[in-house]
């Protein structure tokens, strides 16, 4: 409770209310006010989520901070919120990134500032809703609503090909979601009239139904993750989105898909999950290896990091579908870490883009000479992306590889190639952009980070290092929930 109000509801609605206030500041005459309001709203939005971490009881997998109210009585739909060890970190991650995104767009966004800031605030609240909803229709409402602000962010403030990217993003994700909706309605009729996700976990289903439901969920979640072969929207969306949009996409929106696998696919259709695990693992490994190679060939920095994201998310789905504790915890840690690292890398590229208006690797060279502080931060995040021990990137990848070895050596072998490819594409990009002789006059005129940018990067650097050196605060909170989920998934739900 915060001031007598339930924590999760505050975490959802506070940013949304601030978003509406920011919108109300109107046109760009009031831009400074809109910026300040947005910063205040997003910072408050982060502060109110802290009780979720401090007050979280670690030794149970039950839902905590539960709120349950009637919403649509006709269909037995409830306003039902709660967190467990799996979702709580993502709530914090979401709230954590919103002020950073607001700061990152502080000077860069000059047209329709209020709408830009408000979109991010509203999206932040909605994404927290996705992570905390325990009623599947409530989940679905948040899940779809999330598309609207992102669609506008890419389309209004994006790059030259933004319209194509925005429409592609929207339709791709809508296709998956609609199939999921049919699956949810089917489950509602099977569960005897309940839309509660936890009730879905208990419904017995024959194999055919499980497989069809799994496929419907797969479309919804795999598109968001994104898994090979439905990943093609991501590079377009990332390249065209403004920096803040890319950060939120990489740091949070991709996690939503992976979260869906844990909350829906695996516990609701455990038998189908086991049956189709081979396919999922294969797709994950293709993402890890093939997309890693694709990343190597990119000439656009943002595209490179986008492909690197897909490759890293391949690790996450691999960790899920090997069904052991190392794999799943590693995957969750990888999700959190990738949130920080990919977010940070997109912010780095944003810093360069703001100054040079180019994301082409070939346009750079010798940036270390003109922006030494930036080069140092960029180095740290690049290393974390590679998975260097001591950074957050190492923990998750290492655990997933251990988990994979236990199942099949060759899974681990294929997955571990990412350590080579990842190092290759990240460091090669870093070398071409940062080192060497100053490439041209534009690079020579570059100015180093401003105080605002330094603050953003310092916060992120501290988190990346902190999580790498001491991951316990992140892993202990999910421990019990992960184990119980694995126990649940191991039990067959086929009717006898």
């Amino acid at each position: 409770m915060i001031f007598g109000l339930p924590v999760i509801s505050v975490a959802i609605w506070l940013p949304i209310i601030f978003g509406i206030l920011v919108l109300a500041t109107g046109d760009d005459k009031n831009a400074p006010l809109a910026r300040i309001l947005a910063l205040v709203g997003s910072t408050l939005g982060f502060l109110v989520t802290i009780p979720l971490y401090t007050g979280f009881v670690r030794d149970t997998s039950e839902m905590q901070f539960v709120e349950l109210h009637d919403w649509i009585a006709r269909f037995n739909i409830h306003y039902h919120l709660g967190v467990d060890g799996i979702s709580v970190l993502f709530v914090l991650l979401t709230a954590f990134f919103t002020p950073l995104v607001v700061l990152a767009g502080w000077q860069v966004i000059e047209k329709r500032v209020a709408q830009y800031m408000a979109s991010f605030l509203i999206m932040s609240g909605v994404m927290i809703g996705v992570f905390t909803a325990l009623d599947s229709i409530l989940f679905y409402v948040f899940w779809e609503t999330m598309l609207i602000p992102m669609f506008l962010i890419i389309g209004v403030w994006g790059g030259p090909n933004r319209v194509y990217a925005a429409v592609k993003f929207f339709l791709y994700t809508l296709l998956g979601s609609l199939l999921m909706l049919v699956a949810l309605i089917y489950l509602y009729n099977q569960s005897g009239g309940s839309f509660a996700i936890l009730d879905f976990h208990k419904v017995e289903l024959p194999m055919t139904a499980q497989i069809l439901i799994f496929i419907a969920f797969f479309f919804a979640f795999a598109v968001k993750v994104p898994m090979f072969p439905v990943h093609t929207w991501l590079p377009d969306a990332h390249v065209e989105a403004p920096t803040g949009g890319s950060v939120v996409l990489a740091a949070i929106m991709l996690k939503v898909g992976a979260y869906g696998f844990l909350r829906f696919s695996m516990p609701i259709t455990p038998d189908a999950s086991h049956q189709l695990a081979g396919v999922m693992i294969a797709l994950s490994l293709i993402a890890v290896v093939y997309i890693g190679l694709v990343a190597l060939m990119q000439t656009d920095m943002k595209k490179l990091v986008a492909y690197s994201s897909i490759s890293h998310m391949g690790f996450v789905t691999l960790g899920f579908f090997i069904f052991n504790a190392y794999g799943m915890e590693g995957a969750l840690l990888q999700m959190v870490s990738h949130g920080f690292v990919a977010g940070a890398l997109f912010l780095c590229i944003g810093v360069l883009y703001d100054r040079m208006h180019s994301r082409n690797i070939a346009d750079y060279g010798g940036v270390a000479d003109t922006m030494p502080v930036f080069a140092a931060f960029f180095m740290l995040f690049a290393m974390a992306n590679v998975g260097l021990p001591g950074t957050s990137g190492f923990v998750g990848e290492f655990m997933v590889i251990i988990g994979a070895v236990k199942v099949n050596f060759w899974y681990a072998f294929a997955a571990a190639t990412t350590l080579i490819f990842g190092a290759a594409y990240t460091l090669w990009m870093y070398k071409r952009v940062i080192f060497g002789a100053v490439a041209n006059l534009h690079v020579a005129e570059l100015t180093d980070l401003t105080l605002r940018e330094k603050v953003i990067f310092a916060i992120l650097a501290a988190t990346v290092l902190g999580m790498g050196l001491y991951p316990l605060p992140f892993s202990e909170i999910m421990h019990v929930s992960v184990n119980d989920l694995l126990v649940h998934v191991a039990r067959s739900k086929l009717p006898l």
Partner: protein, 483 residues
């Protein structure tokens, strides 16, 4: 039965008819400058009708005029919503019509007669009453479309509407006569029990049913009987398009559900198969063809076809739940289409129709608030939460799945994905493109206010859809008799 017990249930209809005649005469004495008086009189009549409808409401089902007329909860709810829709239509179109010199007494009296037709359709319990209501509505609409005499497009639209409408009426009457021949009755309850008793000739019944369903499909505008819809929507002045595209859908829902559900329930396995074909064809053709349209009114016409297909899904899934969801869908659709046409009229100026897609370019820069409202309406039509359009689709899909047609639900969502594209394009034009004209948007304050209420209503009902859903479900439950 004494006279008063017969007249009371039809009180609102009688009042509407009387006032229409009074206003028709009174309007002769009013100069063009005082036309606002007529307008206010019409609004007052609608208010009066709603008071009478609420006042004469009785629990249960009341029959009058030898079972030709029925007054139940569903009819009362639908009538109240019809008054509301017509009244909103008048507010939206006042400015638009004034500028075009169409703000005349004829327009308003015809609108009143159209409303009367809808009311009769909603309350009919007899093939003849149903037909009577339908014709009163249709004839008024034909005349309204033709009201703009010097516009070639409008005249063409009226002509097309009239000829195809007359054809549809013919089909419907022919089917009804077959049913009459087979069952010996025109009253819905008696028809139903005659079919159930098994005495009626099955072949003759199904033969008649095909014609009735075709006639209904014509009136609803579903594929393959949809050809009139785009031309009429496009050609008619937008105010008339709004009238055709809004309230009559409520009456059409009542009409279809009374005939098929109350009268022909025993033939459900025959007509639900026909409706499946009609529904899939409408959703497919409506959604795909809408993509190619450059005129917003035409696009909305195709979108209507798709929406009507979706509405049929609720009906064909059978069961009282399904009929309730169809009614909810119809109500939601009317709300959205009023908003969309209202927006077109609001953006139109003297001698300029804002009815092509290009007119919406850059609306966010010209007026962020109107762009936001249109965004809500478009996402609602596409069925994206948190707008009410989502719940309309959701509840229909739910009843389809409940009826065991999971595959049909999958087809429906895939087709509505195609539909999402063209709604999304409007949003894209408004938000991502630069405006083509910078003409200030002159906003009649009453219609802009109503539009805000309408747009926010779509959002608010999306956040709290429970009440409206229950009202629809309960009123269908208490009214439609499954004989």
């Amino acid at each position: 039965m004494d006279l008063m017990t017969n007249l009371m249930p039809a009180g609102a209809e009688i009042f509407m008819l009387a006032m229409a005649c009074v206003i028709l005469i009174a309007d002769l004495l009013i100069k063009q400058s005082g036309r606002l008086v007529t307008y206010l009189l019409v609004q007052l009549t609608l208010l009066g009708c709603s008071l009478i409808t609420v006042g004469t409401h009785e629990n249960g089902i009341v029959y009058a005029f030898h079972n030709m007329f029925v007054d139940d909860l569903m009819s009362d709810v639908l009538k109240l919503l019809t008054y509301l829709a017509v009244s909103m239509m008048l507010v939206y179109s006042r400015q638009y019509l004034t500028v075009r010199g169409l703000f005349s007494g004829e327009f308003m009296v015809l609108a009143m007669f159209a409303t009367l037709g809808m009311m009769v359709m909603i309350s009919a319990n007899h093939f003849l009453t149903l037909y009577l209501g339908l014709e009163v509505l249709s004839l008024s609409l034909y005349a309204m479309v033709a009201l703009q005499r010097d516009s070639a497009v409008a005249t063409e639209a009226a002509m097309k509407y009239f000829i195809l409408g007359a054809l549809a009426s013919g089909l419907l009457l022919y089917g009804m006569s077959m049913l009459y021949g087979a069952t010996g009755s025109l009253e819905l309850g008696a028809v139903s029990s005659a079919i159930k008793s098994g005495a009626a000739d099955k072949d003759l019944l199904v033969f008649g049913l095909v014609f009735v369903v075709s006639g209904l499909a014509f009136k609803l505008g579903v594929v393959p009987f949809h050809m009139w819809v785009p031309d009429v929507y496009h050609g008619a002045p937008t105010a008339m398009t709004m009238l055709i595209g809004s309230a009559p859908k409520l009456a059409a829902f009542a009409f279809v559900s009374r005939i098929l559900v109350e009268g022909l329930q025993p033939l459900v396995q025959h007509w639900s198969g026909m409706l499946i074909i009609l529904a899939i064809a409408s959703m497919a053709l409506g959604n795909i063809t809408a993509i190619a349209q450059t005129n917003l009114k035409r696009m909305l016409a195709y979108s209507t076809i798709a929406h009507m297909g979706f509405l049929l899904l609720g009906l064909l899934s059978g069961g009282i739940e399904g009929y309730g969801t169809s009614m909810f869908y119809a109500v939601v659709y009317v709300l959205m289409s009023l908003g969309a046409f209202g927006m077109i009229m609001l953006l139109s100026r003297e001698g300029f129709e804002a009815d092509t897609l290009n007119d919406f370019k850059g609306l966010n820069q010209r007026s962020p608030w109107l762009a936001f409202l249109m965004l809500l309406l478009m996402f609602s039509m596409a069925g994206v939460p948190p707008t009410v359009g989502f719940y309309a689709k959701f509840s229909v899909l739910n009843s389809v799945v409940q009826a065991g047609h999971v595959w049909l639900a999958v087809v429906a969502v895939l087709l509505s994905l195609i539909g999402a594209f063209y709604y999304l394009r409007i949003v894209k034009l408004m938000y991502f493109d630069a405006p083509e004209s910078h003409a200030p948007i002159d906003v009649g304050s009453d219609s802009a206010f109503l539009l805000s209420v309408n747009g926010l209503g779509v959002l608010l009902l999306g956040l709290l859809p429970g009440t409206l859903m229950s009202v629809c479900a309960v009123s269908v439950q208490q009214s439609l008799l499954l004989h």
